[in-house]
Amino acid sequence: MRLRKIAAAILILVLTLALVGAIAELPSPDERVSQSALTQRIIGKGVVETGATNLVAAVLFDYRAFDTLGEATVIFAAVAGVVLMFYHAPLHPSAIGLSILAKRSLDVIGPFVFVAGMYIVVYGHISPGGGFQGGVILATLTILISIVYGLQEERRLLDPRFKTALESSAALLFMTVAFVGVFSGEYFLSNLGAGFFRGHPGSVLSGGAIPLLNVAIGLKVGAGLALVFYSMVKKEPE
């Protein structure tokens, strides 16, 4: 065991030292360096080409939207995997939740959390945030509900079958938006080129398909991660 620790330490030391040299050769980050052609292009033309003022959203849902489809699929796969792992687990019978005080507090803040999550999803193309961040917040809300009200109540409120259906439908919504480009004679995942509504950059209804994709991702991530948490806290059969 001790030998293994020393061996690991030496291995990592060698690896890190090799990387120190490599990173030292990169342009120094502490002074201004000219940005690459790719970056200049996106900063210069991003708003005009995508209609989104949040350039990260422009990259994430337009220039590199294919990455986003891939990462949504990664979540989908992880959810399917977790559900598969806990397939036969029934509900914890004694999940009754916390005190009445905690329940009333959640009644008050719950709607606010929901609105905040939705806001982050819907305004993703103009302000920081977007489908992923908002979706995680929505999933956290279901986690709060299951802690405060108990898993039974959360299950009654949001049936796992409903979550599965919602997750799949949101993924299909993403695919539908993506295929609009194919059917309009453009390319897969085309945005403004496929005739999506450009709007006035900076307003809510702008950015073409970007808000639509944000909503799809938000619902998908929210439903998927809620399902992950639900599956993991279920009681296992003995």
């Binding site: 990169l26 690459s36 790719l38 399917a80 259906a165 799949s168």
Partner: protein, 480 residues
């Protein structure tokens, strides 16, 4: 042709998203739907390859979202991608068909994950963008972890976790390499990076190549990074063993073949060719020696996968058109034969794969017994089977390059594998007192799969001349 490169990625994804809805709404048609989906997938891949050859161009570029390679992500279909798409597409189809009677309990999630793997593999093969490559690597890997653990036996769960930890470290290394590429070149497109790769400072270049080569060696299970493979491949249910050994390992092979020419084989302070040769020899000998010590049929097959990855690494390391062509050809053969062997052994034995409990088992399940013998004889490299030709090709490549020592490793590996497969034959085909009850193989799909792998393993030798010529053209184009 126009949209086919994206369709082979998007359609299986669409299937994966649809399967939960279908099994919820129309549970009765689930099985036949999945078979149809598998056929559609393979059909699309076939049409894409056919369309590519019919066009007669070097490469087909599909700009996603209409963005060119300078800003967005593009898919690029060239000869190497087409060859691998063919190998992997066929492998996935066989796995989907064979899985028919395996997954009662796991319901639809099993197929969801299978189609995500199918999509991820095509993504890896077709993308021309470094970060997109990482996303697809993660996608196919994450979908494969729960598939390994699908039986939910303790050993399978632990094997899955072990496999997962290794894979995550390897993809972190690959991501590190990608970040360094972006930091050094300001671009993520493979073509653009290849054009300026020589201008990157020496040490950075070595670090990029180093992190990719180590990361991919873990993925391909080259010794000394192999220890995750035997448990994962042996503990999974048989169709998944075939998926991992036959198809997913070739992901790493494809990436080595795609990326090393971009990196100029790390000429400079890090010589990847020599490294691959050393690791390759170690892996061929080590994998075969490991296999000799096993008492479980699937573990023997898994360890032999390690050895076969060694042959492929040798082919890439020897380099030149002949070496690359040999590695490509061997990838095809290994897919057919290793998948065939896992499929057959899944029919021969159910549950336990310990040799001690399988006396005469292959005689009791005649069709699978025959295909098992054919596949494993092919894996040894015996003449009527395709891998004989591909091993000879790699050997000639070594002799051509004046590396007689390397050439000698191949027959040595074949002898070693003949010894341990011989031991397996002695047990599986031992006449036993029990009456042969001739277990029939239940769904028609399974029979088809067994026949395809068995016929395929011979057909690759029959057409070895043509195949070798095709692969040599691809290798010529790669080596430039």
């Amino acid at each position: 042709m126009s949209h086919l490169p994206i369709l082979v990625i998007a359609i299986p994804l669409l299937f994966a998203f649809l399967i939960p809805l279908i099994s919820m709404l129309f549970p009765s048609v689930r099985r036949i739907t999945v078979t149809a989906m598998g056929l559609v997938y393979a059909g699309l891949v076939g049409m894409m390859i056919w369309g590519y050859h019919a066009m007669g161009v070097d490469r087909v570029i599909y700009p996603l979202g209409g963005w060119g390679p300078d800003v967005g992500i593009v898919l690029e279909l060239d000869a190497l991608s087409a060859a691998f798409a063919g190998i992997m597409g066929l492998g996935i189809l066989l796995v989907i068909l064979y899985s028919q009677d395996y997954m009662e309990a796991a319901e639809s999630k099993y197929y969801v994950l299978l189609f995500i793997v199918a999509s991820g593999i095509m993504g890896i093969i077709l993308t021309a963008d470094f970060f997109n490559l990482y996303v697809f690597i993660e996608m196919s890997a994450i979908a494969s972890f729960p598939l390994v653990a699908v039986s939910r036996r303790g050993t399978a769960l632990f094997a899955s976790l072990y496999y997962m930890v290794f894979t995550l470290v390897s993809s972190a290394l690959i991501l590190l390499g990608i970040i360094l590429v972006y930091a050094a070149t300001g671009s993520l497109n493979m073509g653009e990076v290849a054009a300026v790769f020589d201008t990157i400072p020496e040490l950075t270049r070595a670090s990029i190549v180093g992190s990719f080569v180590i990361g991919l060696s873990v993925k391909v299970a080259l010794i000394p990074f192999h220890s995750w493979l035997p448990p994962a491949h042996a503990e999974a249910v048989s169709p998944i063993s075939a998926l991992l050994s036959g198809v997913l390992l070739k992901n790493g092979v494809y990436m080595l073949m795609r990326l090393l020419p971009i990196f100029g084989f790390g000429d400079g302070s890090l010589d990847v060719r020599t490294l691959l040769l050393v690791i390759g020899v170690l892996t061929v000998i080590g994998g075969n020696v490991l296999a000799m010590g096993q008492g479980n049929v699937k573990r023997i097959l898994a360890c032999s996968s390690v050895a076969h990855m060694g042959y492929i690494a040798l082919g890439i390391g020897i380099g030149g058109a002949l070496g690359f062509a040999g590695a490509l050809f061997h990838s095809l053969n290994h897919m057919l034969m290793k998948a065939g062997a896992f499929f057959s052994v899944g029919c021969i034995a159910d549950g336990s794969f310990e040799l001690s409990g399988l006396r005469g088992a292959a005689l009791r399940t005649r069709p699978a017994g025959i295909t098992f013998a054919m596949s494993t004889a092919g894996l040894i490299g015996l003449p009527p089977f395709g891998s004989f030709a591909s091993k000879i090709m790699i050997m000639f490549a070594a002799i051509d390059a004046g590396m007689i020592g390397i050439a000698a490793v191949l027959p040595a590996g074949a002898v070693l594998s003949a010894i341990y497969y011989g031991r397996v034959y002695q047990v599986l085909y031992a006449p036993s007192e029990r009456e042969p009850d001739d277990v029939s193989i239940s769904p028609w799909q399974t029979t088809i799969v067994l026949v395809v792998t068995a016929v395929g393993s011979i057909a690759t030798l029959v057409w070895a001349g043509n195949l070798a010529r095709i692969f040599a053209t691809i290798a010529d184009y790669l080596v430039g």
